[in-house]
């Protein structure tokens, strides 16, 4: 396959960026999108040019490192991660636009790499349980109803890639935050922090400068793990319940 790529190039966080056009040839339809970019980078290195910087790690669709908005879609045209997107989803002679995640909470570091540490700070605000750790407990020590376990697992699938933020017209992190909250709030292990978790994580999400939810539904369409839009509804329900239950101010001044 022969392709024309228009890639966002930006030297560093402070530099002005722009789309640059490249031609790549000899692309196999079995290559992943990242392998196609590797091919481009090999050529760029041989030509003595700066290779395109992009995030990647496991390349198995499970770590959440890869990103890229491809032709306007977070993770491209298929409902999967960019590393699991294959070139067979494109046609010979196509022009493909490649851009970084766009959100003020995800500043561009270089080219297609954005800083997603805002997600880490949302997790730090309550995305954990204060249960004693150590050896794994006996599986049946804490009974969990099957529907609750399924609900928790569905949300636990979130890999924190940030596609929801990239796709949201408001740069909101509602789907990510709701997945993390729902995953723990429905389980007995997460019960002790049920109220503080939702109040603190939503407050941390707001503090990071993410936008609000307008129920456009773009996040759930882009999510490679299929976290449903109803996840946000469940989070809202948890948040309203917590505001009624907790009498203290949910986020004391830092």
């Amino acid at each position: 396959m022969k392709l024309t790529l228009r890639v966002w190039r930006q030297k560093n966080a402070d530099a002005e960026g722009a789309m640059s056009t490249y031609q790549v040839d000899g692309i196999s339809s079995d290559m992943s999108f990242l392998e196609m970019l590797d091919t481009l980078n090999e050529e760029l290195i041989l030509r003595g040019e700066d290779p395109v910087a992009f995030d990647h790690d496991c390349r198995e669709g499970i770590c959440g490192a890869c990103s890229l908005v491809i032709n306007g879609d977070a993770h491209g045209p298929e409902r999967t991660t960019t590393c699991q997107l294959h070139m067979r989803s494109f046609r010979d002679g196509d022009t493909i636009d490649v851009e970084p995640w766009r959100a003020s909470a995800f500043p561009v570091v270089k080219d297609l790499v954005v800083d997603r540490s805002a997600f880490e700070r949302v997790i730090q605000a309550g995305g954990y349980v204060t249960a004693p750790t150590g050896a794994a407990p006996e599986a049946h020590a804490t009974p969990v109803p099957k529907p609750d376990a399924d609900f928790a697992f569905e949300h636990a699938e979130c890999i924190g890639c940030g596609a929801c933020v990239a796709a949201c017209p408001n740069g909101a992190a509602m789907l990510f935050t709701s997945a993390k909250i729902n995953h723990l709030n429905v389980l007995p292990q997460g019960a002790p922090e049920r109220e503080t978790r939702v109040l603190d994580m939503v407050a941390a999400m707001d503090d990071e400068g993410f936008g609000g939810c307008t129920l456009a539904g773009e996040c759930a369409t882009a999510c490679p793990k299929g976290i449903p839009l109803m996840s946000i509804t469940s989070m809202n329900k948890e948040w309203l319940r917590a505001t009624r239950k907790v009498k203290r101010s949910p986020h004391p001044p830092r």
Binding site: G72, A203, G212, T214, T233, K237, S249
Partner: protein, 223 residues
């Protein structure tokens, strides 16, 4: 706690949902009442007169009316202020646009903000036209809403403003009702189709119901 609710994006959306549903409830009653115009001038003007005496003798004349007005003003202001603040926040959260643009979300979803502005301006015109009579075409007659309505819808601009606003209202309710349900945590996978259905029916009913009046005047059924 109230402060924390107001400061939160989820809290502000809750304010929008509750104020929106309050206005929606009022609109359903308003639309149904409007349809009395098809029973003739006397019936309609009598109905308008009755609206001022609702709750009597327990409530003094016009108290119920003013109570509704106060609730509505609070709802409109709360809805508009939260929408403005949330929109400012949303635009700040996504300052750089994508080069490769795609038509996203439904038309109703994309027009919520401008639709809301149109509705806000419409409410101002509507009150100046038919409540205070300040910008009313022809002589405004207090206590004779039937004649006043016929005056308004006998002008081309009265019809245009009204029709545009009611189409905006339909779109706004279509996305707004369903969204409010999600914000208040009332949505669920099994209830989603029903909620979307109710949103569509409400939107259609309100738009058609309200538009029946200017169409009635234009076709000579009312006049």
């Amino acid at each position: 706690m109230a402060r924390a609710v107001w400061d939160s994006t989820v809290g502000k959306k809750t304010v929008m949902a509750v104020s929106g549903l309050t206005m929606l409830l009022y609109l359903i009653v308003h639309m149904a009442g409007n349809l009395k115009i098809f029973f003739g001038a006397d019936t309609f003007n009598e109905y308008a007169r009755w609206l001022r005496t609702v709750g009597a003798p327990f409530l003094h004349e016009e108290w119920a009316l003013w109570l509704v007005r106060v609730v509505l003003v609070v709802a409109v202001v709360a809805h508009a202020v939260s929408a403005y603040q949330l929109s400012r926040r949303d635009l700040r959260a996504r300052p750089d646009k994508y080069v490769h643009k795609k038509a996203r979300a439904s038309y109703a979803t994309r027009t919520m903000r401008w639709g809301g502005v149109i509705l806000g301006l419409f409410i101002v015109w509507h009150i100046l036209d038919l409540t205070t009579g300040t910008v009313h075409p022809g002589g405004f007659q207090a206590g004779r809403p039937y004649e006043n309505i016929v005056d308004t819808f006998s002008t081309w601009y009265g019809n245009v403003i009204y029709i545009v606003a009611m189409l905006a209202l339909g779109l706004h309710v279509r996305h707004g009702f369903w969204s409010a349900a999600q914000t208040l945590g009332a949505g669920s996978r099994t209830r989603d189709r029903a909620l979307k259905g109710v949103a569509n029916v409400l939107a259609l009913l309100l738009t058609v119901g309200f538009l029946a009046v200017p169409v009635g005047v234009m076709t000579g059924v009312v006049g």
